[in-house]
């Protein structure tokens, strides 16, 4: 791996990474990859996020779903931990709260496979910096 030796290097690297990086790294046809992000901060882990992450990994392997599972930090929804964000290419990301093993099955079977929304969605209750700017 090359060191970043200038601001240009950094910018180039950022350009190269446009799109979904984890997918790019792990898949040959990233545009079809589904991304499942499990909030793995201490609070999420305490609420069972690690089990949820493992359940997703097993489930997508078993069902041969073109998805990758990664960890991320706290999404802030402490009242609904463990929380998981699912990004299906071409669709808005969806966050699910109170995820457990049964919910993992449901998310994969219904939302990911059939594209059907299910109970337990957490509406995005905040603005990103960009949204705030464009207000």
């Amino acid at each position: 791996m090359n060191k970043i030796k200038s601001l240009d290097d950094l910018r180039k690297m950022k350009q190269n990474m446009a799109g979904d990086l984890s997918i790019r790294e792990k898949s040959t046809n990233p545009e079809k990859m589904i991304q499942i992000r499990v909030a793995m901060a201490t609070c999420g882990i305490a609420a069972g996020a690690r089990g949820v992450m493992n359940a997703f990994v097993e489930k997508i392997e078993k069902d041969k779903i073109p998805a990758i599972v990664t960890q991320t930090g706290c999404m802030g929804f402490c009242y609904a931990e463990p929380t998981v964000e699912v990004r299906i290419p071409g669709k808005d990301p969806v966050v699910f709260g109170h995820v457990d093993a049964a919910k993992v099955e449901e998310i994969v079977d219904k939302y990911i496979v059939k594209g059907e929304l299910i109970d337990g969605i957490l509406p995005v209750s905040f603005q990103t910096i960009e949204e705030h700017e464009n207000k």
Binding site: L10, G73, Y79, D119, P123, V124, F126, Q127, I129
Partner: protein, 597 residues
Amino acid sequence: MAEYKNYILVCGGTGCRASRSSELVEELNKQLKIYQLENDAKVLTTGCFGFCEKGPNVKIIPDNTFYTRVKPEDAEEIVKEHILKGRKVQRLLYLDPDTNKHISDDKHMEFYKKQVRIALRNCGFIDPENIKESIERDGYAALGKVLTELTPEQTIDIILKSGLRGRGGAGFPTGKKWAIASKSVAKPKYVICNADEGDPGAFMDRSILEGDPHSVLEAMAICGYCIGAEHGLIYVRAEYPLAIHRLQVAIKQAREYGLLGNDIMGSGFNFDVELRYGAGAFVCGEETALIHSMEGKRGEPTLKPPFPAVHGYLGQPSNVNNVETFANVPIIILKGADWFSSIGTATSKGTKVFALAGKINNVGLIEVPMGTTLREVIFDIGGGMKNGKKFKAVQTGGPSGGCLTEKHLDVPIDYDNLKAAGSIMGSGGMIVMDEDNCMVAVAKFYLEFIVGESCGKCSPCRIGNMRMLEILTKICDGKGTMDDLYELRDLAHVIKDTALCGLGQTSPNPVLSTLDNFWDEYVAHVRDHKCPAGVCKNLMEYHIDPAICVGCGACQRNCPADAISGEKRAPHTIDQSKCIKCGTCREKCKFGAISIQ
């Protein structure tokens, strides 16, 4: 594949449920059936939209129509008009208070999203253990900009103009702090990140370190460039193993990419970061105490001046900022001082992260622009009071803060307003209390914490807080006098006046603010020997109402103190001299015959 044409998302947050959102869901399903649309539309219950003020909220997708104040009676119209005919129900759309026009879709009413994520911008978006995801979201771009395009003076100027103030509690202007440290001539200098989050219930900094460690590293390097330091130290509590792990990974990756180390991005600037582990003493959040702790000395504050900017770690000039403060820095550099200072109030710019907890529906980590009111935070974002109880008080600023009441709910949150109201911003703990909380007991709880966490260096904090605790204990035991109340107030003022460091100077805040705002409750304890909230055990008695008691014996069987007697099928009685006020009898009574008096 059974893909629905429409989804009707009904807020299932507790606030909306209290306004009959469950009934609404039932009614919507019923109407879908009546109009035979079950296969076209599906009703879903979601988490809280954070707009409880106008709840119950309903969102229809795919057209993102947002209805507010929807009643079960409105279900038919929604199904008939919107789902069947594709016509929006105008009267249920949100009415923009400024233009008085209906707003049809949620994209144009972003302001219902009261939170703005600046410090938390990457938390929950990136994999914190993958530096590339950080770079993809502009990680280290601010550092690159500073190193290649700006002088230290220009950079400090941006931070100064942005109006960023320290997020650790006291709210000292960050740019000013950097400017002072940059003027110290002695070398080496140190950049210190205070990650010793000690307020009970607060976890803002931990979440940032766990979710976005690179922003903190980047900001420290920027600070190092500004003040002329090559060494960064993060004082993180050892109780945060995951944060430590993620920091370690982040530091390793940043070094590998040449974003920490020598000659960063070809600028000739060197900077590296080391971790230091704290044992979790509350007082070590105070910067001089923190520095002593890092030096291997007892974690206790020393008098300022000299300030760390002149005489800090190992006697060298040091700049100490808290995690959240640092997390704001890179984005300010990228977006500019004007952008940042456009958010917030006259004296407090940007946003603040709060750990919202207590008797509230949506406990969580939130970030709101300065100037958001407590009411918006508690009743919208927080989803209102749990179990429909009455709001009583909100405690901000942790053990050093105060309890604010109903009358403060519309105060826009910023450093100065909270201080004027008798509390402090603190690091961002926010605990909501309801009618079941006894404010005397709350003050006592915080003092217990302070008595345990005071370093014991100065007499007012070491002994004074214990004496206040004793008086509060006496009051909670029903043995207090009116003189005790006056003594408590006097003692609190003296401790505030005379304690050595910020911990001691603010430790009487919970006492003073409850004395000010809940004087009647104190008086009730002292004069009437009653705890209105029914919390103080020595001030309450359990009684069995003979008119309701059927003599089932459940209470008698479960009483651990053998305090209940009575013949079968005849009313039972409680022997007050034996009762330990555990409340088991009341829980076990199926007839509601047992009450607290």
